[in-house]
Structures are given as structure tokens and as C-alpha cells.
């Protein structure tokens, strides 16, 4: 669409191919605009998902019915899960920051297939709309949980089909983004940027893209099978039709476990960018971090069975999956050690993005360490399907990926908008987040160890104490998130102008304008140094 009149020196926001401002966004093939389109869609869904979470927590503040009926509650946790998993954290970091920054960080003008990139966003929107239709069509919103376990998903009278079709469509968006990034990274790195001179965020996007490409089709097929079974009574999973419900669980987790790494790896990449910049120091163990990234992506395929220890697998399968699960913990541990070692003898500039990165380390450590409880057979059989599991994956997904997302947002905000945000409010938001988060999710570990099952609308008196604390935590958490988001939104509009390189970063994105021009670079840079080579 490059018209001759485009001025390559102005910011990409100024580039107008259409008269209508909306068309300028939704038909743009500029990777930066597409990244922002994803950001705005994801943030909108996030607000909905977070409020649903709050509503559930308020319901649980006391035993018995508090603010909603059991059916509403069941629909709420299903919708919360579908939004948070399929619409937010799976696309999440790659779609937003990957799109905006990957080309710039490897010294390219755009991704390899800009039109395909726009198509991915459109498919994402289509999938989201179809999934949302399930909320308004038929006999009420789905109440199966985001896992759609058979045969409940066949028995329920709620509207499951659109949600499944929506998830199926969203899968294609994920696959196309993955494909685009793989080709971009292979083909479009700037001259001199060898694989081992590539920054770590692109590296994690690369590993993630392969999982997206290889694992997503499995869930696609599974969802198709469920859809076929629902529409044409072909008995794959429903024992009433001669199917096997456990087969569904295997297929579901063969995708959904690797998907956990789709969610967390890019966040690890963000942390690997933020820490060196704010330490003004090269990252400790660059190659070890890359190796552990690839190892996680690979071993992650073989551990799905740890979601199914109580589903009647053989004893051999139990210990084998347990052993593999423990092994996959090692590469994550290696990363933590390398990040902390990077702090050692750095010259640390304690700014907001580093707060979030340190918050990530702390919360992710709790998430990872409690994962060990779930990897071990004896303890997992005890806490499986209790609120312990819910707490664990919120520490990993929200404390890990979510916190990583906010680290990324605060780190690259000046680049994306050319503005700076208010530091005081950002700090208030951060501390509220950590306090609310711990108060919300820590009691859920003890509740699980007391035996409180998950997906519980109501509970016995012995679980009351922990739930009260947890609900108040949720209120603090939501208030803090509101502060964080409002601060960023108002700063994007009215913030002070930010310098080109506010944090003294040395990766390529800090050498281009803030906000970048349409083609990012006037001349494609030639890379000679490693990405974190701070030696002056």
C-alpha cells in the first residue's frame, strides 16, 4: 500500500493510507499497528475476564449463595477461563510485543508476511466473536469449564458449540503468527546478526512459534472431533456413544501442556531483556538461557500426563510422567539462577519495568516450586482438582506471564507511544498488585491442602477463613490493576514526551525513533556486537 507520498521520517502513527481512521488501523499491514490492535483487543478482554474473576471471588466470600446462582457461577468460571486462556495469554506476548518489536529487534522493516499477519488478527477477531456468541445463543452460556471435559460437555444443555468453534478458529491465528515469526527470524535478521547475536526475546518467540506450529493442530483436531460428535453423534469421547472420555483428556493435554510454554516462554524472553538493560550489564549465561529455552520447548511435549494422575493411568505411566515433569523443572531453574546472577555486580537502575521483572521472578518461583508438588505422584493425587492447582497455575500464568506482560508494557511503553508514564502511580499499582496477588492466591494453596475441591460454588464452613482472605485479596488486586491500566492509558494520551532511549538499552529497538517510523530504520543496521554487549 506504499504510496509515493509517504514520508519515511514521520512516526508510523502519522502514516495514513485511508481517510477513515478506523480503516487505517484495521487494514494496516504495519507490524506495529497490528501489535497495537492485538494490545487493545487483549486489554479489553482482560478487563472482562478480570471482572468475572472478581465476581467469582465475591461469590465465595461466604458459604451459600452470595451474589449469584450456581449456574451463573459455573458459566462465569468457564467464560473466565476461555477468555483468559484462549483470548489473552496464548496470543498475548507474541501477538502484542512480538509483532511490535520482533522486526525492530532483529533489524527488519516488517515481518516476512505482513498481509498474513493482518489476516491472523482478523482470524483472531472472528474466533473471539464466535466464542462470545456462545454467551448469548441457545440455552445459556457454556458451563463446562475451559477444559471442555467429555462427557460433561456432551451432557450439558448449555451452548458449548460456538465456544468450541471459536477456539478452533483462534488456533489458526496462533499457527499463522507462529509461521510468520519462524520465517521472519530465519530470513530477515539484519546483516551480521548471527543466531548467537540475536536478543533473547526473539529467541523465546522463535521457540514459542515452533510449539504454536506443531502443537496447535492437535487441539484443532480434538475440537473438530468434539464438534463432529456433538453435531453428528460420532462416538469418539462419549461413553454413551461408545467413546472414551479419557482419550479426550490425553488429546486435550497433549496440546494444552505445551501451550503452557507458549504462554510462559515469551514472558521469560521479556525478563531476559529487562534485567540486562536495568543492570547495564551483559546477561549472565546467554547460551545457557537459549539452551534451556529450547529444552523447555522440547521436553514440554512429553509431560502432559501429569494432568491425569487420578484418571486411571497405569502405574508405569504415573512414575514416568512424574519423572519427566521433574526434569522439565530444571531448565526453568537454570533461567532463574542466570537472571539473579545477572544482577550481581550490575549497576542497577531500579525503575518500574525492573520492579515488574523482579515481581515476575518472585511470583514465578512460587508458581514453579508449587509445580513440584503437582509433579510428584503422592502429593499430586492429594491436591489434584483442589484449589491448590488453581493457585499454582495462577502463580505461573498470571504471576508469570501476566507480570511479564506488565513488565513488557512498562519497558516498551516509551518506544510504542513516545510518552512516559507517571512513576508514582505505577509504583502504587505495582505494590498493590503484589499484595493483592499474594492475598488472593496464597490462601488457595492452604485451602487445597485442607481438601477444598476446585470449581466449587459453595463450600463447607471449615473453608471459610481462607476464602474471606482470598476475596479481599481479589478486591485489592483489581483496584491495583485499574490503577496500572488507567495510568498507562492517560499517559499514552497526555504523558510527557519520552526520549528515544530512556533506559539506556542497547538492543536495536532503542536505536530507532520513539514511536518508530513506518519502516523502522532509515538504513538497515549492520550488527557487530552481541545483543547485551555493554563494554564501552
Amino acid at each position: 500500500m506504499a504510496e509515493p507520498t509517504i514520508n519515511l521520517e514521520q512516526s508510523f502513527y502519522e502514516v495514513k493510507n485511508y481517510k477513515s481512521p478506523i480503516l487505517n488501523w484495521i487494514l494496516s499491514t504495519d507490524h506495529k499497528r497490528i501489535g497495537l490492535l492485538y494490545l487493545y483487543s487483549i486489554m479489553t478482554f482482560f478487563v472482562v475476564g478480570a471482572l468475572l474473576g472478581l465476581a467469582m471471588k465475591l461469590e465465595l466470600i461466604a458459604p451459600g449463595k452470595t451474589i449469584m446462582e450456581a449456574q451463573t457461577y459455573n458459566a462465569a468460571f468457564t467464560f473466565h477461563g476461555i477468555i483468559m486462556i484462549f483470548l489473552i495469554i496464548i496470543p498475548g506476548l507474541p501477538a502484542v510485543f512480538g509483532n511490535f518489536l520482533l522486526p525492530i529487534m532483529i533489524g527488519a522493516k516488517d515481518v516476512a508476511f505482513p498481509k498474513l499477519n493482518l489476516l491472523s488478527w482478523w482470524i483472531y477477531v472472528l474466533g473471539a466473536i464466535v466464542a462470545l456468541l456462545s454467551q448469548v445463543m441457545g440455552d445459556g452460556p457454556p458451563d463446562t469449564g475451559w477444559t471442555f471435559y467429555a462427557p460433561y460437555s456432551f451432557k450439558t444443555t448449555s451452548t458449548v458449540l460456538p465456544a468450541l468453534i471459536g477456539a478452533f478458529i483462534l488456533g489458526f491465528s496462533s499457527i499463522l503468527t507462529g509461521l510468520n515469526f519462524i520465517v521472519t527470524i530465519h530470513r530477515m535478521r539484519a546483516p551480521g546478526m548471527t543466531w548467537l547475536k540475536m536478543p533473547l526475546f526473539p529467541w523465546t518467540l522463535y521457540a514459542t512459534a515452533w510449539i504454536q506450529l506443531l502443537a496447535t493442530p492437535v487441539v484443532g483436531i480434538t475440537l473438530l472431533m468434539v464438534i463432529a460428535e456433538k453435531m453428528f453423534q460420532i462416538g469418539f469421547f462419549d461413553p454413551a456413544l461408545g467413546g472414551d472420555p479419557i482419550l479426550f483428556q490425553h488429546l486435550f493435554w497433549i496440546y494444552s501442556h505445551p501451550a503452557v510454554y507458549i504462554m510462559i516462554l515469551p514472558a521469560m524472553g521479556v525478563i531476559s531483556e529487562v534485567i540486562p538493560t536495568f543492570c547495564q550489564k551483559t546477561i549472565f549465561g546467554y547460551k545457557a538461557i537459549i539452551a534451556s529455552t529450547l529444552l523447555i520447548a522440547f521436553v514440554g511435549y512429553f509431560v502432559w500426563g501429569h494432568h491425569m494422575y487420578t484418571a486411571g493411568m497405569s502405574d508405569t505411566a504415573l512414575w514416568l510422567f512424574s519423572l519427566l515433569t521433574f526434569l522439565v523443572a530444571i531448565p526453568s531453574a537454570i533461567k532463574i539462577f542466570n537472571w539473579i546472577a545477572t544482577l550481581y555486580k550490575g549497576s542497577i537502575n531500579l525503575e518500574i519495568p525492573l520492579y515488574w521483572a523482579l515481581g515476575f521472578l518472585f511470583l514465578f518461583m512460587i508458581g514453579g516450586l508449587t509445580g513440584l508438588v503437582l509433579g510428584s505422584v503422592a502429593t499430586d493425587v492429594y491436591v489434584h482438582d483442589t484449589s491448590f492447582v488453581v493457585a499454582h497455575f495462577h502463580f505461573v500464568m498470571f504471576g508469570g506471564t501476566g507480570t511479564g506482560f506488565f513488565a513488557a508494557l512498562h519497558y516498551w511503553f516509551p518506544k510504542m507511544y513516545g510518552k512516559s508514564y507517571d512513576n508514582t502511580w505505577a509504583k502504587v499499582g505495582f505494590w498493590g498488585f503484589i499484595i493483592g496477588f499474594m492475598m488472593l492466591y496464597m490462601p488457595m494453596f492452604t485451602l487445597g491442602m485442607q481438601g477444598m475441591p476446585r470449581r466449587y460454588f459453595d463450600y463447607l464452613e471449615q473453608f471459610h477463613g481462607g476464602n474471606i482472605l482470598s476475596s479481599f485479596g481479589a478486591i485489592i488486586l483489581i483496584a491495583s490493576l485499574a490503577i496500572v491500566i488507567i495510568n498507562l492509558v492517560t499517559s499514552a494520551k497526555r504523558g510527557k514526551k519520552a526520549p528515544k532511549n530512556p533506559w539506556d538499552g542497547i538492543t536495536l529497538e532503542w536505536q530507532v525513533d520513539s514511536p518508530p517510523t513506518l519502516e523502522n530504520f532509515e538504513t538497515i543496521p549492520v550488527v557487530e556486537k552481541g545483543p547485551y554487549d555493554y563494554k564501552k
Binding site: Y152, Q280, P453
Partner: protein, 314 residues
């Protein structure tokens, strides 16, 4: 886990709690140690105190150390985790008592070898028990926290079981842990462990329903329905649950759907019997097929009589 009893409630408790202890202790040490190190570095090497960073690319020696030590530790955790589970792997001892747990939306029933059926799990103390896991509709889970026992109950799979030895007398919570729809959180009952002689006394007494003497007419019928779980889906006060309310049902006209045709019938004794034994033959208009399962072989004629007596009072 939290209230550690003096006697282990089952033969699983010691191993499971040990695995918890090993994993959580190591985890706490790491969490606290790493967090303090991190905060200390952030303080010590703040740019005010350390204006110039020392560039350190990495260290093979350190990478090896912090790969092998965690590796050894996770293998240790793996070992205790597996050990904690082995008391109940494989087949149960020959003298184990068998109980079949049957789950449906949203109640449990326990069937004993002599034909006794209950909604509470009664067990003799210190005797191995093998629980066969059955489900009639969707996946449920049987979870007795005090015993550290949990198993999914999968429809269509008749080979699943869990065995253990209860060691502590008393009444313990028993929950459904696999999400199974509307009343999942109300699907719980208890496991009662009794000394062997008392258990045997209870076990031999196979008189079917204990009809409470006196009381309002039909109360016995309500008792039956509570025990077998009808009230999870049917109310007595007119409110709509999964199934139609029983209020104003008896001997009143009713529109049902047979196949694809609508038909008006009267809810007489025969209709109610059919509704209980073949619930999916005639579907009440406005409700869904396949949710209520047949209670054939689960209710005696006397019990049906009692239920009808109760319905008459509504």
C-alpha cells in the same frame, strides 16, 4: 495435612505427608534464599552504590553446579513422591473388602457385597478396602482428604478402583472433586470408620429402609429421596432446578414429549413409576432428555410407594 492426627488416618498418610514435607521444605529454602539474594543484589549494586557494572559473561562452572544440584534435589523429590504412593499401587491384598462406589449427578451410592446400599461410606477399621469406581453419567471424583485418597470415576470404565486401609475411627468428609455440573459443590457425603465388630453388626443388618415412626405423612418418602439424591434435581417448593419441581405434580395434567410428539397425560402412580424407571421415554416439556437416569434396581416397590405418598402431600 494441616491437622496432623496422632494416628495416621490411612496407610497412605505417612508417605504422602512425608513427600509434602520434603518438597515444601526444599522449596521454602530455595524461595527464601533466592528472594533474599535477589533483593540484596538490588540493594548492594544499586547504581548509586555501584555506578559502573562489571561485565560478566557467565561461568560454565556455575551453570554445571546449578544444573546438577537442582537435578539431584528433584530426583529426591521424585523418589519420595513415588514412594508415598506405592502403599496402594498394584492389586489390593486378598482379604480386602470390596465396595462399589456409584456416582451420578449429584450423589454417591455405596454398594456392598451382600447387597447393602448406602449414601455414606461405612468402613471397618484396619481392614483393607477396595473401592470400585463407577459413574453412570459424567466424570466424577471420589476424594477423602483425611485418607489422602482420590480417584476419578469415569463412565464407561468398569476397571477402575482404589484400595487403602483406614486406621482411624471417625467420620470424614468425602467430596466429588471432578467438576460435574450444577450441584458439583453439593456432591459430598462422609466416610465413617468403625471398629470391626461394630461394622460387622451394621453390615449384617440388611433391613432395607428404616422408616422413621410418626412424623408427618410422606416424611419417609422424602427420606428415601434425600438418601438417593432426587432432591439434587427436584424441588418440593415449585422452584425449577435441573428437573421439574414436584409441587403440584401428583394427579395433575402434564404435557410430555414422546419421540417428537407432544402428549397430554395425567401424573398418576403409573406415570410416576415410569418416570423413575424409564425417565427418558417421556420427557416433560421444557426439560432436557438424558439428565435423569433410570433408578431400576435401585428402588424397591415399597420405596416407590413411599415416594408417591410424599408427592401426594405437595
Amino acid at each position: 495435612m494441616i491437622n496432623r492426627e496422632l494416628i495416621d488416618a490411612s496407610n497412605l498418610v505417612a508417605g504422602v505427608d512425608k513427600a509434602f514435607w520434603v518438597i515444601l521444605t526444599i522449596s521454602f529454602i530455595f524461595l527464601i534464599g533466592l528472594t533474599i539474594t535477589m533483593l540484596y543484589f538490588v540493594y548492594k549494586y544499586n547504581k548509586k552504590r555501584n555506578p559502573k557494572a562489571t561485565q560478566i559473561e557467565g561461568s560454565i562452572k556455575l551453570e554445571i553446579i546449578w544444573t546438577t544440584i537442582p537435578l539431584a534435589l528433584v530426583l529426591l523429590m521424585f523418589y519420595y513422591g513415588w514412594q508415598g504412593y506405592t502403599p496402594v499401587t498394584g492389586d489390593p491384598p486378598d482379604d480386602a473388602m470390596e465396595v462399589t462406589a456409584v456416582a451420578r449427578m449429584w450423589s454417591f451410592q455405596f454398594q456392598y457385597e451382600n447387597g447393602k446400599k448406602t449414601d455414606t461410606l461405612y468402613l471397618p477399621k484396619d481392614k483393607p478396602v477396595k473401592i470400585n469406581m463407577k459413574s453412570l453419567d459424567v466424570i466424577h471424583g471420589l476424594f477423602i482428604p483425611a485418607f489422602r485418597v482420590k480417584s476419578d470415576m469415569v463412565p464407561g470404565r468398569d476397571d477402575m478402583f482404589r484400595w487403602f486401609i483406614p486406621h482411624l475411627e471417625g467420620k470424614f468428609d468425602l467430596f466429588c472433586t471432578e467438576y460435574c455440573g450444577l450441584s458439583h459443590s453439593y456432591m459430598y457425603t462422609s466416610a465413617v470408620v468403625m471398629p470391626e465388630d461394630k461394622f460387622n453388626e451394621w453390615y449384617k443388618d440388611t433391613t432395607k429402609v428404616v422408616i422413621p415412626a410418626g412424623g408427618k405423612p410422606g416424611q419417609a418418602g422424602l427420606g428415601v429421596m434425600k438418601r438417593i439424591g432426587c432432591i439434587a434435581c427436584h424441588s418440593s417448593d415449585g422452584s425449577r432446578l435441573i428437573g421439574p419441581s414436584f409441587k403440584g405434580l401428583y394427579n395433575q395434567p402434564k404435557v410430555v414429549i414422546i419421540g417428537k410428539e407432544e402428549k397430554e397425560i395425567t401424573a398418576d402412580d403409573e406415570y410416576i413409576k415410569r418416570s423413575i424407571f424409564e425417565p427418558n421415554a417421556e420427557i416433560v416439556k421444557g426439560f432436557n432428555k438424558g439428565l435423569m437416569l433410570s433408578y431400576k434396581d435401585q428402588l424397591t416397590d415399597e420405596e416407590i410407594e413411599l415416594i408417591i405418598e410424599y408427592l401426594k402431600t405437595l
